[in-house]
Symmetry: C2
Subunit: 214 residues, 2 copies
DNA sequence: ATGTTTTTGTGAAAAAAATAACAAAACCCC
DNA sequence: GGGGTTTTGTTATTTTTTTCACAAAAACAT
């Protein structure tokens, strides 16, 4: 898929822009934005160029306009509805998190297999897993978050796809198979941490070698 | 940084291998592994080639040997100690998660600013944030996880770096600045979800256009 | 007005990553 | 033990991503 990284960066820019806006900026230059998310100014302009975003020579970009534009590209100008499956550690944490709502993503419900964890009167209702298919269909949900154990993840995904879900964020550390009409994005936190460990080890090793070569 | 993606995939391979091993395999071919994590067999062999991992022509790879080798490269043959800062939604979820320990990562303590959340007798003790620096130094902690609000994240990182932390996994949705001797890896879940939304929208759009062009 | 400075937008170049291609080794079967 | 088959390991090729570089537009100064 071409420009995958650009899209990810667009989200980052939007994020940074919101912060910069609350800091009182009305306009922004490619190098401010670059600095805010840690890329080169060229990269910023290139990304914008790819998606047809333009600013003003010497005047930079109007923040409000830019955010609007980014939201349009990212399909975020209408509220997006999503569900979470699995009301365990991570599922519950996500359900309580207010950062999604701030970004126009509304978690409509959580689905859980364990009847003891069901609580349909909560702010974000926790419903029984059996109700998931119907809920997805009647509420036309397109986005799902999988927070169930590895062993049930594929099964949950299959049900989601069957019901009409088109995009999934998966926390189970396993590769899920989906038909090509459904996007699956995996978040593997162990892997992320291992990665940190690897690169920090590498840095330490390099530092030691540099010391020897003095 | 060169080969960054290869390193990430090495962790994936290791993960898949553990699963394949419990399924009874003793040997594995590049195409099995490729299939398990969703890449091409060439990619698998290329990755291994880069890190000097070799198998047997026609015999594939001995799983145990391979895991051992990957662990060595990833610096995982000794237990890695880490701390979490912030005992909120995500911090608590991570502390309870058993997936880290399975992978040789031990969370030694959680640090929290709110005295009401401190509970030093818990399985993984939740200590007061004031004790962090000393704990890191006396226990020689190199890895930290940041699970505090955006507004305190940079401050926490600075303290960590000061105390000797060399690698950080950050959940706050903000770019943190670290000196180059400390690696910072960001996990931004809102962004991950936005990404899913973008690409699923794209797919739907493409599907619609394809329909028109029949 | 005219020159100077700043900053964008993009095409060209470089770097990095992924894929393909295939020789060589290892095994199998007869 | 020779011919066929499988699978690695690596080099070559292609694709993708990032960076560079600079012309042109806009703002400013004088
Ligand atoms: N907790 C973490 O910090 C963390 C970190 C990284 C990855 N993960 C992954 O996230 C997933 C969930 O982790 P967790 O720690 O929240 O586990 P958990 O056991 O706390 O929660 C899982 C929940 O899913 C429910 N469940 C099981 N099957 C279900 C089904 N078919 N339909 C609906 N609900 C079902 C269980 O009843 C349970 O409440 C796991 O795959 C785990 O590997 C978790
Ligand atoms: N909860 C989620 O699902 C989720 C998802 C994505 C991102 N995040 C991010 O993760 C971070 C934490 O989110 P959360 O939902 O767990 O928030 P939370 O408010 O539940 O938890 C934050 C905790 O950090 C503590 N804290 C604040 N300053 C501290 C300091 N200096 N030292 C130690 N502890 C301190 C607070 O007392 C609180 O207990 C935030 O940056 C958030 O944006 C959370």
């Amino acid at each position: 898929m071409k420009n995958k990284n650009s899209v990810i960066r667009l989200s980052r820019y939007k994020n940074a822009l919101r912060r910069l806006k609350t800091m009182g900026f009305a306009r922004i230059f490619s190098d401010n934005l670059a600095d805010a998310i840690g890329v080169t100014p060229s990269q910023v302009r290139k990304d914008f160029s790819i998606f047809g975003i333009s600013g003003n020579k010497r005047g930079g970009y109007q923040i409000d306009e830019l955010i609007e534009h980014l939201n349009n590209i990212l399909g975020k100008n209408t509220i997006k509805h999503a569900i979470i499956v699995g009301a365990g550690n991570i599922g519950a944490a996500l359900a309580k998190y207010d950062g999604f709502e701030k970004d126009g993503i509304k978690i409509d419900a959580v689905f859980e297999a364990d009847p003891l964890k069901v609580s349909s009167q909560a702010v974000i209702p926790v419903l029984h897993a059996d109700q998931m298919i119907e809920f997805i269909q009647t509420n036309d949900i397109r986005i799902g978050i999988i927070a169930v154990p590895e062993s049930s993840a594929q099964q949950v995904l299959d049900l989601m796809v069957l019901s009409g879900v088109k995009g999934v964020l998966n926390f189970a550390p396993i590769r899920l198979r989906a038909p090509k009409e459904c996007v699956v994005n995996n978040v593997n936190l162990v892997l992320e941490l291992e990665n940190v460990i690897y690169f920090s080890n590498l840095l330490e090793k390099e530092a030691q070698e540099a010391e020897i070569n003095i």
